[in-house]
Amino acid sequence: MAAVPAVTDELLPLPVIGERRFVARLLGNQKFVLGMVIFLAIAGVALVGSLGVEPAERRTGAVPARQPPSAAAILGTTSLGQSVAVQWTQAVPNSLQVGLIAATIGTAVGAVIGLVSGYFGGIVDATLRVLIDVFLSVPSLLFLILIASLMRGVSVLGMALIIGIFAWAWPARAVRSQALSLKERPFVQVARLSGMGDTEIIGRELLPHMMAWLGANFLNAFIAAILAESGLSILGLGPQQEMTLGMMIYWALNYSAIFLNLWWWWLTPVVTLMALFLSLYLVHLGLDEVGNPRLRTQA
């Protein structure tokens, strides 16, 4: 192996994913496996559950109102006579969808901007770097509030797109600093001398070194997007016609579930969110330990 790469910013050049041993090591990592199991269990139960729900069961007044959990309604019912369990099976896939789309957009756009800024340098870099700093220093929730409040009645998809547009600044910053250090390495210069174009160098020489980091960033962005969705929904900017975990909390707060002591109503989305965050955090830790040789010795 060539010289040990210098540590720049929060981004360590990780090994290129694709080796079979990497997967085997991941499956041997307790944190990764536990996190994955919790995450897949929540997603799986919700998806299977949503298939078994009749449209009639979703309507308000389908069941008696304000019932605590029982055999008839596993998670109790709301003040409007909806089953919390039925709501939950709709909310979890929708919230995960927001996380998935927003994290994909944010990570992809961030990677492209970071690579372009770091690789080309000059005036492009100077402009993009100011733009990155601006987006890092402004609370993205504020811009989200502004846009969501203008687009009355957003859908789950619209919500995901809006959140995704504001999720690129962190990955862009980290990818940029990594691209800056990588582009001076001998292998990139060899590629340039052998006649590779800029696009090809970025795609085939630089990008593969960042895949592991981008994967970890994707998980962070996933958590942040679900969090942003809940925050916006609690502010009353969520998809009013659809159910997400944030909208469940919004309706529960709207009908004073806490003070009427309908704990099953508001606690269900809250506990689900905490379990989702914990599981994704564990997956992240696991990926870090396997992908980052420095941490592996401690594990």
Binding site: D133, L136, P139, I147, L235
Partner: protein
């Protein structure tokens, strides 16, 4: 470019760019939405209020204010001129009230809540984290704080707020029920009873913000101090025979303070966002609650004005912390000279 204009120049450019971009976004965003930007607002208003006389007068005022007959460039310049004079327009549902009046009524509560909680959590978190990091494995008791901090750090603001409300106002009624910054009927003024009342109402929102952010400051300071241990300058200080206390404060803590301050600058945006949602959950009458109510009443000028104010203040806070960095770190001072 970066090297020639120096550290301060770069920070100033970022600040100015932030302000210009956010003012421009706030101006153009309503105009990019399909349809008449005022149409939806007025139809909504008519269905809610039904006072046609006032809404006609208001519509006229708004057409003039937005200058929809003029060119977009002219409108933008007028808008900038109004902004420079602190004129943010009028609230729609409570017409003659100015947006700036509503905002200034809310600002003290948000500033108080954010200022107090950020200061307490940052100072307390940094000190505790430094202490735990420095003591290493020597103190079992202190190490037990680490998993607690991890849990707090991974808990979103609003979840902790909901749990605290349900436990401490509903289940064990130690704190007053959420709603308002002081008791109904209390006379605002600088009296001890009123101040005590305000503290009582603010304690629970503050606690939920402090607990969440404390976890992060604790963890980051702890790892910074651990990284300091074993560095050359620490070994040198130890070899000189300096007392541990002095090595800790003057050699390790002071060095770790710089990235910790930068961390504060970078997370101000998140802190503000979290505080806004906490205010909504506690019905605390700050800017977050104002924005929440304005969204519900389609009072777009108020949303616009509050968002703009918060963005500019956040950027200014960032700039101030960046300007404070050279005071803490002589290396930046040297690079500037």
């Amino acid at each position: 470019m970066g090297a020639s204009i120096g550290y301060l120049g770069e920070r100033l450019i970022t600040f100015v760019a932030t302000v210009v971009i956010s003012v421009t976004v706030v101006f153009f965003a309503p105009r990019l939405v399909p349809g008449d930007p005022l149409g939806a607002i007025f139809s909504n208003l008519a269905s809610v209020g039904g006072a046609s006389g006032i809404s006609e007068e208001l519509a006229q005022d708004y057409r003039e204010r937005f200058g929809l007959d003029k060119s977009l460039g002219e409108q933008y310049l007028t808008y900038l001129g109004d902004l420079a004079q602190g004129d943010l327009g009028y609230s729609i549902p409570i017409y003659p009230t100015r947006v700036s009046t509503l905002i200034w009524n809310a600002v003290p509560w948000t500033v108080g809540l954010l200022g107090v909680t950020t200061l307490i959590s940052w100072v307390l978190g940094s000190l505790l984290g430094a202490l735990v990091g420095w003591s290493g494995g020597r103190s079992r008791l202190l190490q037990m704080l680490v998993p607690f901090a991890l849990v707090l750090y991974t808990t979103p603001y609003f979840i902790l707020a909901l749990l605290l409300i349900s436990l401490l106002t509903s289940y064990w009624p130690i704190f007053p029920l959420p709603g308002g910054a002081y008791s109904v009927g209390a006379e605002p003024g600088w009296t001890w009873s009123f101040i005590a009342d305000v503290i009582q109402h603010g304690a629970l929102p503050a606690l939920s913000i402090i607990l969440v952010s404390l976890g992060w400051w604790f963890l980051s300071m702890r790892s910074l101090i651990i990284a300091e241990q074993g560095q050359d300058h620490i070994l040198w200080a130890e070899a000189k025979g300096l007392p541990q206390r002095r090595i800790f404060w003057a050699y390790a803590f002071r060095n770790a303070l710089l990235p910790q301050t930068t961390g504060l600058a970078l997370s101000i945006g998140n802190i503000v966002g979290g505080a806004l949602i906490t205010e909504v959950i506690f019905a605390y009458p700050g800017l977050g609650y104002l924005i929440y109510n304005s969204i519900r009443q389609s009072d777009f000028p108020v949303v616009q004005g509050s968002v703009l104010l918060l963005v500019v203040c956040t950027a200014a806070a960032n700039l101030l912390l960046d300007l404070a960095n050279p005071l803490i770190d002589p290396r930046i001072r040297a690079a500037r000279a």
